[in-house]
């Protein structure tokens, strides 16, 4: 039984990883082929760092992900605060479900609806061109919002109200209470949300596909453009690098997580 389950796991992981392995291995291929390996070389990596277009796309992606994830986090914290403090239940529930829409909707519908908004508004105001950096920022911020709210809202709900009440009783203004008590408390959730929306924004293709313009092309759009024409092999080099970066981040996050978990376990043990 044990052996069987091991074989099974190995098979599934082989399915999951075969294409990624092909990309990683053949990015070191000296020939321009995805089927014959003709010797090790780093040529494609060299080419990648001379490809201004790819590097610009990478820079655009990073800028967009940074801006939109920060914006989404700020808005998300406000939203979660408002939802958790809403006096009326229906109001909270409406706000929560509205913010969930971009998460529940398929990406293509979000992208299309955003595009139609911009088309419609540009039509009313007679602006051209209407797609650009800012439409991308708006779209990315919007689809990141629910993920931030999702990670911040539980923190607000878990929070002990006596803390804020105590602060207010001791003379804090509501604003000061928010910054001194509530914000530090929800910070871990906000950081999770920030990281998640950064990653989502970096990875998004479908929504960007509908709201982007040629003067601001992100990495996924650049990759898409390559795959509908003829993929340059430097692309595979780039993807290999990205896979390793992601792997590194995941390992770090996991190690930090498990260390923290162990420490907590130990603390709990000591208390006992």
């Amino acid at each position: 039984m044990k052996v069987l389950s091991k074989i099974y796991m190995a098979l599934v992981f082989l399915l999951l990883y075969a294409p990624i392995l092909v990309v990683v291995i053949f990015s070191f291929n000296s020939a321009e082929s995805l089927s014959r390996f003709e010797g090790f070389s780093l040529d494609w990596y060299g080419e990648l760092f001379q490809d201004a277009e790819a590097l610009t796309a990478l820079r655009n992606s990073l800028v967009l992900a940074t801006v939109s994830s920060i914006l989404a986090t700020v808005l998300g914290i406000i939203a979660a605060f408002a939802i958790s403090r809403a006096r009326r239940r229906w109001l909270a529930r409406t706000m929560e479900s509205v913010s969930d829409i971009p998460m529940m909707n398929p990406d293509i519908v979000t992208g299309v609806s955003m595009m139609l908004l911009f088309v419609g508004v540009a039509g009313i105001l007679k602006v051209q061109p209407f797609l650009g950096v800012w439409t991308m920022i708006i779209a990315h911020t919007t689809f990141n919002l629910p993920y931030v709210i999702l990670s911040v809202l539980p923190k607000f709900r878990q929070m002990d109200h006596s803390l804020t009440e105590a602060a207010m009783d001791l003379g804090c203004t509501p604003t000061a209470t928010f910054f001194k008590i509530e914000l530090p408390y929800i910070l871990p959730g906000a950081i999770t949300g920030l990281m998640m929306s950064f990653a989502l924004s970096l990875d998004d293709f479908v929504i960007s596909h509908f709201v982007s313009s040629p003067d601001f092309r992100t990495l996924p759009l650049y990759i898409y453009n390559q795959t509908v024409h003829d993929v340059k092999f430097s692309m595979y080099a780039l993807c290999t690098l990205l896979v390793f970066v992601i792997l590194g981040v995941l390992i770090v996050v996991n190690v930090v997580g498990s260390v923290r978990e162990r420490r907590q376990l130990r603390k709990a043990g000591a208390k006992r």
Binding site: S5, K6, Y8, M9, V12, F13, L15, L16, A18, P19, I20, V22, V23, L34, S35, L75, I78, A79, F81, A82, R85, R87, M95, V98, I101, M104, N105, P106, I108, V109, V112, S113, M114, L116, L117, V119, G120, I138, A139, T141, T142, L145, P174, T175, F178, A199, D203, F205, V206, P220, I223, T227, M235, C239, L242, V243, I246, L247, L250, N254
Partner: protein
């Protein structure tokens, strides 16, 4: 004092309310607007009526994504079960291995899968060399390839939620079941499976929704011969200026998905969560 507080509260939440009205609600209203008007902006239900021409597309898309979701579940559930029964260290490694493809660009993974399975790709060449295949594999451009692409791309999204709900599952339930005389299979079906329903439901939706709306997978692996809903929508917005038709299709798809999400959520009522806790 009370009044001031509520005013502050209102002021604080206003940026979010404005944002969500402008960029979440308004876009959907625009979809509705475009779906219900013709090119000149006057009201018409022609677009919705014209959708009957796309009936087969809808059926095929739903069919493909249903099959892909079912296959993902059949592969993913046992895997999550096996993963949950390994030691903590291995479990951590496996989690990273599941998450890595999730964060790798879907475009690249799909393209690489195509290159792998294409005629003249590694699989085809190896099979030919082994004498198992005469000539071409001819797999890319078939419905099977599209379904395989969906399974491959979205499998991690099935495994992870199921796996998470399994690790949250209190091991004492399993022990109790064993003590009370359940064998392995009985424990699986009578204890583990019902208790992981929330994970299963979120896994199913996380595979079904992107599958039904994809256009890249069908373009690359289906060779453009299998027109899914996503392809149709994309074409209305990219190649031709037929926004109204595109909006109508999007609207119908959105309603379809929201209904199925609503039905799915019926299976994860609070009660089962209480039981898990």
């Amino acid at each position: 004092m009370k009044k001031k507080q509520s005013m502050i509260r209102a002021a604080a939440s206003s940026p979010y309310v404005v944002w969500s009205v402008l960029f979440i609600v308004a876009p959907l209203l625009f979809v509705l607007w475009f779906a219900l008007t013709d090119g000149n902006g006057s009201f018409s239900i022609e677009n919705i009526r014209g959708l009957s021409a796309y009936g087969r597309t809808f059926v095929m898309s739903i069919g493909f994504s249903l099959i892909a979701t079912a296959v993902c579940f059949l592969i993913g559930y046992p895997l999550a079960y096996a993963m949950a029964r390994t030691s903590r260290r291995i479990r951590n490694i496996l989690t990273v291995l599941i998450m890595l493809p999730m964060w790798t660009s879907l475009l690249v993974r799909t393209y690489a899968l195509m290159a792998l399975l294409d005629n003249g790709g590694i699989v085809s060449n190896t099979l030919t060399r082994m004498g198992l295949l005469n000539g071409h594999l001819n797999f890319i451009g078939t419905g099977g390839a599209v379904i395989l692409g969906m399974v491959y791309d979205f499998l991690p999204y099935m495994i992870l939620p199921i796996y998470t709900s399994m690790t949250k599952l209190d091991i004492r339930y399993v022990e109790a079941a064993a003590d009370l005389g359940c064998n392995g299979t009985q424990t699986l079906f009578r204890v583990v499976l019902p208790l992981t329903v929330p994970g299963i439901v979120s896994g199913l939706t996380m595979v079904f929704v992107p599958s039904i709306s994809t256009f890249y997978i069908s373009q690359k692996l289906g060779g453009g011969s299998f027109d899914l809903i996503g392809d149709t929508i994309e074409r209305q917005f990219q190649n031709t200026v037929t926004y109204n038709t595109g909006a109508a299709i999007s609207l119908v798809m959105m309603i379809l998905i929201l209904i199925s999400l609503g039905v799915m959520n019926h299976f994860t009522d609070q009660k089962s969560e209480v039981i898990v806790k």
